[in-house]
Amino acid sequence: MNIPNSVVTVGKINFYKINDRIAFMWNALMAYDGFIIDSSNAIFIRTVAREIRGHHQPEIYLKGIFLMGNPELTNKAVYSLIDGFILSEEDLNMVASRSQDYFLRSLDIHPSVPRGVYGPIIKKAFDLLYTRQNKVLAPIRDTHSIIGYNFPELSVSFDENEEPQVLDALEWAEKEGLVWPDFQERIYVCNSCSGGFLSIREVCPHCKSSNIDGEDLVHHFPCAYIGPLSDFQMEDSAVLNCPKCNKDLHHIGVDYDKPSVINHCNNCDSIFQDVYVKAKCMNCESDMDVQYLKSRNINSYKLTKKGRQSITKGYSYEGIEEQIDVTLQSMESFIALLRYDIIRESRELGEDALTGIYFENLNEFANQFGDFRRQSLMREIALIVQQRLNDLDYICLEQSNLLWIVIHDVNKIEKALENLVKDIKELIDRNIPTIKLSIIFEYNHLKAVSSAEACMIDLKRKMLVE
């Protein structure tokens, strides 16, 4: 056999030595049992390691990777992507058996892939974990990652700004019982882009500007004057002097104290004591209240028994399902039911009505609290609506801010809808007083309607014009 110069053979094990990236021919590399990266260039090493582990073929990404020499690695993620170091080719004897083990264990792997968007990526990482026994999928702090953490074995399959999806994938695997989490850290991420680089600032509660100055309040005991420290400061003296009684202040705790602080906004000139704490996402520039930030756990993960069995015997679960709110009809079924009701109504004289409830400024809510909370809010609202409906009534959500409802045999519909809207507003007001939700509703009696689509368009026009 004609062995190329870049191949190093130890017994029956052939290693491909990479020291020149231009020589890469991926298909040809499948034939080798492992890789040796012989370079002192940290960036080159990282790039090659990522490309091998990120490759879609198990014949490539499951192979052992060994670094030759003692190169200085600036990126810690590389340590998770490689399998070890050798000082020279003589040391290959020590790692040859490991490469053999990886190969033998890879033979146990079942070809099935978990369903769902993350299925193939999860499989790659799990196969790697399985072949490297006792390997832990551990997070590494990484300023290049959008969340500030990196799971190298998984992250190689994502762009750096897609790191939140790595967490989603791992959470899904945890939920399925495939991995066991070990808590490392909790992070707070942007509600909009899930970015982890947040600038936490104290801002004015009125205009949300961070251009604020704080001052101590000073209370002069003898005359009961109280005001900001600047009231007591004199231009030509370091001694504090009371503006009310013109007496000098001597000893804190004896003739004066500082009972509190006061803040002044240089932007809107307002006065306040309690600042708002906002988090500005350095990635997408969303500005959020810190109490509403989304938190994510950063765990390290080990395969569970179920995880190992799934790798070797195939994944038996259904995979990721979209969370469907059972109280809501899909748009198709809603329109189908509506058509049926319109026909029925044309034959009988009922009091059925199609109602649209439009949440005008829900986008403001999403900007502040994130899309996840907007969905939660809409579910709460749908629940309130459903509690007030009869069994025959049905609802559907269009584009997250428009609720369609068909109400049967309702008397005084106007009053009923007003009460409904009042309840929704109370819910919002009670839980999120900072948001004044604008809700518009319109309805048409079905007996006056020719078609479902025309009726919905008509109501939409009324609501938007209003």
Partner: protein, 435 residues
């Protein structure tokens, strides 16, 4: 039976001269001053009020036309439980251009949470908190420091205000530009809680409200209630706001008067307060009030009696009347008692019984007659009527004993500085300066 016939005999034979000798205290000091004089002034007030009607309407028109910003100042400690009701009462006001500032003076209950919540919901404009308690005066002064209104209205958190109260209390400022402060009328809200609160309700209606109408009409009104008082902001800034209490409401009124501002009472601006419902709590409150009379009238503002730069006859008479009827006559009563004991020992039980009957009759009559001048909230009049005979014990004995104790404590021991109503650090500092 023997006692009744003896009493009958005593009354039948007393004659005018002896009647005057036995009951001169009632006739001169009580009946004349608090019934005859007040009735005359009240009648004059009715006429004068009618004469002022057009000017007052014009003032009202100017107020509503200009609608100046009014800062509502609510200082307090551990008052969080009252705040929502108070804010609701303010939201129902007919006058709406208000800046509401609540100052929490180092509360150790849930007040900060409630206050911040009200601010976040936009029910109040500014919630300020001193983590360390500084006393009610400093809390009110902090609010003044950040007030933007042309007028300041100081309220107590545990009170309830009639919907037109703020509007009414502001009108006098537009009637007379020299008015620096206006006191609102305070009535007892919980008059049906206990005998103590019922007697206070009568007192607030009679002595306090009617008394203030009279003193205001005479130009000697001197206590703008801390529960409901309005001030011109420039005036209150000129006097440096409130000084260390207790008795800060009387003190600030005097300070305004000394600067030449007029101080008026507005009986139409009505606020209702929860009075102490037990005699023990009432005694504690009155001891504090009565001590402050000595501290402020006789010590801090004693210059009113002397020909200083700020001397004004009207203030001199105001103080003189106040000292005479509250302090001098309080002790004079003991002289009267001694006089009766020494000279008429054998008639003492009859004099005592007759005094009780006289005072009870006088109180009932006064209550009914002065009721005509009562402007609003007449609903309690019938309820309280049966309690009016008891006022003789309330005024004549209970309050007199408290007053005596308070005056003596303050005269000799300056006890007001030890009152824990104010933090010790402030009282100590004020005592050192003698203010």
């Amino acid at each position: 039976m023997n006692l009744i016939s003896e009493f009958y005999s005593f009354i039948s034979n007393v004659g005018i001269e002896k009647f005057f000798r036995y009951f001169y205290f009632f006739v001169i000091f009580e009946f004349f001053r608090f019934f005859i004089v007040e009735l005359i002034v009240l009648l004059y007030w009715v006429v004068a009020k009618r004469a002022r009607r057009a000017a007052m309407q014009e003032a009202h028109f100017e107020l509503m036309n200009r609608r100046p910003l009014v800062t509502i100042v609510i200082p307090g400690r551990n008052e969080g439980k009252h705040l929502f009701k108070l804010v609701e009462s303010l939201r129902n006001q007919t006058y709406t251009n208000m800046q509401i500032i609540v100052v929490d003076d180092g509360s150790d209950d849930e007040t900060p949470v409630i206050g911040r919540n009200l601010q976040r919901r936009g029910y109040i404009d500014l919630f300020l908190r001193n983590d360390v308690r500084g006393g009610k005066s400093s809390a009110a002064n902090l609010a003044i420091r950040y007030a933007r209104g042309e007028f300041i209205v100081a309220l107590d958190a545990d009170c309830d205000y009639l919907p037109d109260a703020i509007e009414r209390i502001l009108v006098p400022f537009f009637y007379d530009k020299n008015i620096g402060g206006v006191g609102g009328s305070v009535q007892v809200f919980n008059y049906d809680d206990s005998i103590a609160s019922a007697l206070q309700a009568i007192e607030y209606f009679d002595t306090i409200s009617i008394g203030r109408i009279v003193s205001s009409e005479l130009g000697i009104y001197r206590v703008i209630s801390g529960a409901f008082g309005a001030f011109r902001r420039d005036a209150i800034e000129k006097i440096g706001g409130w000084d260390v209490g207790p008795g800060m409401d009387g003190d600030i009124s005097v300070k305004l008067r000394k600067l030449g501002y007029k101080v008026k009472f507005e009986p139409d601006a009505l606020c209702r307060t929860n009075a102490p419902s037990t005699f023990k709590k009432l005694a504690r409150q009155r001891l504090r009030w009565d001590k402050s009379l000595i501290r402020f009238r006789l010590r801090k503002h004693s210059d009113v009696f002397f020909p200083t730069r700020t001397f004004m006859w009207i203030n001199f008479f105001s103080f003189l009347e106040n000292i005479t009827y509250n302090v001098f006559l309080n002790f004079k009563w003991y002289f009267y008692l001694g006089d009766m004991l020494i000279n008429f020992m054998s008639f003492l039980p009859f004099i005592f019984i007759t005094n009780i009957i006289l005072y009870a009759t006088y109180n009932v009559l006064k209550y009914l007659i002065f009721g005509i001048f009562r402007l609003k909230k007449r609903d309690a009049i019938i309820y309280l009527l049966p309690y009016t005979p008891l006022m003789v014990f309330y005024f004549g004995y209970f309050l007199r004993l408290i007053r005596t104790r308070a005056y003596l404590q303050e005269f000799f021991f300056k006890a007001s500085y030890d009152d824990n109503w104010n933090p010790a650090k402030s009282s100590r500092a004020a005592k050192q300066l003698g203010i």
